[in-house]
């Protein structure tokens, strides 16, 4: 199969899709979010715990394509232990990378394994898959700001 595809499915992505780091919901959590990508049915449920502004717990459960699942696995290697502001910076960096339409490389300091997703930005139809867990995490952080734990709206479509 062609090189174009290998740009999308980096070995690291395929590995993470199988490894599924951080899979499993944590019982002690401050925010929970369920998100779904209605066009392809990728879905994720994520729970996080935040203590003194630091992410101390992170777990997810999901179903979907390799890009969406690998992305959650990669995030599990990044989020725990970070200050929430730092995490937000990384979410923004990832979003910028995903919107780069193939021009961005991503800062490895900030994005760690997530730089493997740089190639996804060349496939506009797949950007949503890669973003799913990151936006779920962002939703969790917003919930904590709003002082609520709302599971989000299971998509009605």
């Amino acid at each position: 199969m062609s090189g174009a595809l290998d740009g999308l499915y980096q070995q690291l992505i395929l590995e993470h899709a199988k490894r599924r780091d951080g899979e499993g919901l944590i019982d002690d959590f401050d925010a929970e979010r369920f998100d779904r990508n209605p066009t392809c049915g990728d879905e994720i449920r994520m729970r996080i715990k935040v203590e003194d502004g630091i992410i101390t717990g992170f777990g997810w459960e999901g179903d979907g394509c390799s890009i969406s699942q690998a992305s959650a696995s990669v995030l599990a290697g990044i989020a725990p232990g970070l200050m929430r502001d730092d995490l937000e910076t990384r979410i923004d960096a990832f979003r910028t990378l995903m919107r780069s339409r193939g021009t961005g490389e991503g800062d490895e300091e900030l994005l760690e394994d997530a730089v493997a997703f740089a190639g996804v930005s060349k496939f506009p139809m797949r950007v949503k898959c890669a973003m799913l867990s990151w936006t779920a995490l962002e939703g969790c952080l917003q919930q904590i700001d709003a002082g609520q734990t709302d599971a989000g709206q299971p998509d009605a479509q």
Partner: protein
């Protein structure tokens, strides 16, 4: 004349879009079930209309208005004849979804006002019967109607292959059943419904039958009078025709009984500040400016299909579907859903690749220029029953060749290895 390879290659010359390369490979378009491509005669007809006759129809007295009205009504005649209906039983809609909503909303309206005619009365205790395989377009509107009237929505369940049976359907049709709505051909499984038998059972109890003909009218000869359905819906864009036009068939009696879902200009006889009188069907169901060039284009699509012959279309697609099912089923770790081999199915195959998500399957095919549909195909309950969030669907049409089907199968054969899934 059968649709043999020579003829298919001749037809392909009419579809400019098919001659391009996608991702460095000749395009293999196997997504006609979602939207079909338009041949030159359809595009030409729309353009000729716009360049020569375009005007507002059914209003104004100038020459162009007359010519445009003639084209428009001629299109209705053509489409009506194609589906075994009379022209006054055919009204234009936006698409099939809009057509089904026109029925469900009209029924809600008629019953909200009270005093609905017996045939269209719906109340608490009554039942609307559908199947678990329905496209959301033929599911959600009925949920809404049930909620609006207090009626109960019931459904025939599907089996492990996503198919439902006539026996189960019959068992659920009772004296409480007021509406039976189902797809003539499933857009996911390709299962073909035994329409006449269901109509007989439904009518015996006084229920109306609403047929989602989206995947049948484009692909086989359909005669609504012969089938005996009360209402039917299909979309122009799935039958080589334009976007933005659909068709609602309402058998004459039902067309008289139903109120219009939408009201406004063009569908009235007399309007006072207190009250409005509506026109007869089909005009009463066509409020506002209608998709006139699209109607002309749709009639051209019908002419195109009739020139090929619907039996030839059906036969061609049956052969391609058998080829898909045989080729895909022979692959390790691939499960084709839908009717068993040998049972009637339309020209499509939806399948599950063990260990690989449909979205990833579609991606691997796309880089090879092969366009298939991945996802739940607007049939989430069906997919839930199949135990997957998404399937991959390849669907054929008149321009599809055996070589294209083989290319798709070969591409699918490489998918599991690419993702390192063990056999």
């Amino acid at each position: 004349m059968p649709l043999d390879e020579t003829r298919v290659h001749e037809l392909r010359r009419d579809f400019a879009i098919l001659s391009q390369e996608v991702n460095g490979h000749p395009l293999v378009y196997l997504d006609s079930g979602a939207t079909a491509q338009r041949p030159a005669p359809v595009l030409d007809a729309e353009r000729a209309f716009l360049e020569q006759h375009n005007a507002a129809v059914h209003r104004g007295a100038h020459t162009l208005a007359g010519l445009a009205t003639d084209d428009y009504e001629q299109a209705r005649e053509t489409v009506a004849r194609f589906v075994g209906a009379d022209a006054d039983e055919i009204s234009w809609t936006l698409n099939a979804t809009d057509a089904i909503n026109s029925v469900s909303i009209a029924l809600a309206k008629a019953n909200a006002a009270g005093g609905a005619e017996e045939r269209i009365r719906l109340a608490a205790g009554d039942e609307i019967l559908i199947t678990e395989a329905e496209h959301h377009a033929n599911l959600v509107p009925w949920q809404e109607l049930a909620a609006a009237t207090g009626a109960t929505l019931r459904w025939v369940e599907v089996d492990d292959d996503g198919c439902w049976s006539l026996d189960d359907m019959r068992a659920l049709i009772t004296e409480r059943t007021r509406i039976v709505a189902f797809a003539h051909v499933s857009n996911v499984t390709g299962q073909v419904a035994p329409v006449a038998e269901i109509v007989e059972a439904a009518h015996a109890g006084g229920a109306l039958v609403v047929l989602d003909a989206c995947q049948s009218v484009p692909h086989r000869a359909v005669d609504f009078h012969a089938l005996g359905v009360d209402a039917a819906a299909f979309s122009g864009h799935k039958m080589l025709g334009p976007n933005g036009i659909g068709v609602l068939y309402l058998a004459r009696d039902l067309g008289r009984a139903l109120p219009p879902a939408r009201t406004g200009g063009s569908m009235i006889t007399t309007v006072t500040m207190e009250h409005t009188e509506y026109m007869e069907a089909p005009t009463r169901f066509e409020a506002g400016t209608q998709p006139v060039p699209q109607a002309v284009g749709l009639a051209a699509a019908v002419d195109y299909l009739e020139a090929i012959g619907m039996d030839a279309v059906e036969q061609h697609e049956r052969e391609l579907a058998e080829r898909m099912v045989a080729g895909l089923s022979a692959l390790e770790g691939i499960r084709v859903v839908g009717p068993a081999a040998g049972v009637d199915r339309s020209g499509l195959a939806s399948f599950i690749v063990d260990g690989v998500h449909a979205h990833d399957v579609g991606q691997v095919l796309d880089v090879q220029g092969i366009a298939v549909r991945v996802g739940h195909h607007c049939a989430q309950p069906l997919h839930r029953r199949l135990g997957v969030a998404a399937t991959t669907r390849a669907s054929a049409y008149v321009h599809t060749t055996e070589a294209e089907v083989d290319q798709m199968i070969e591409a699918v054969a490489g998918v599991r290895a690419y993702f390192g899934v063990q056999s």
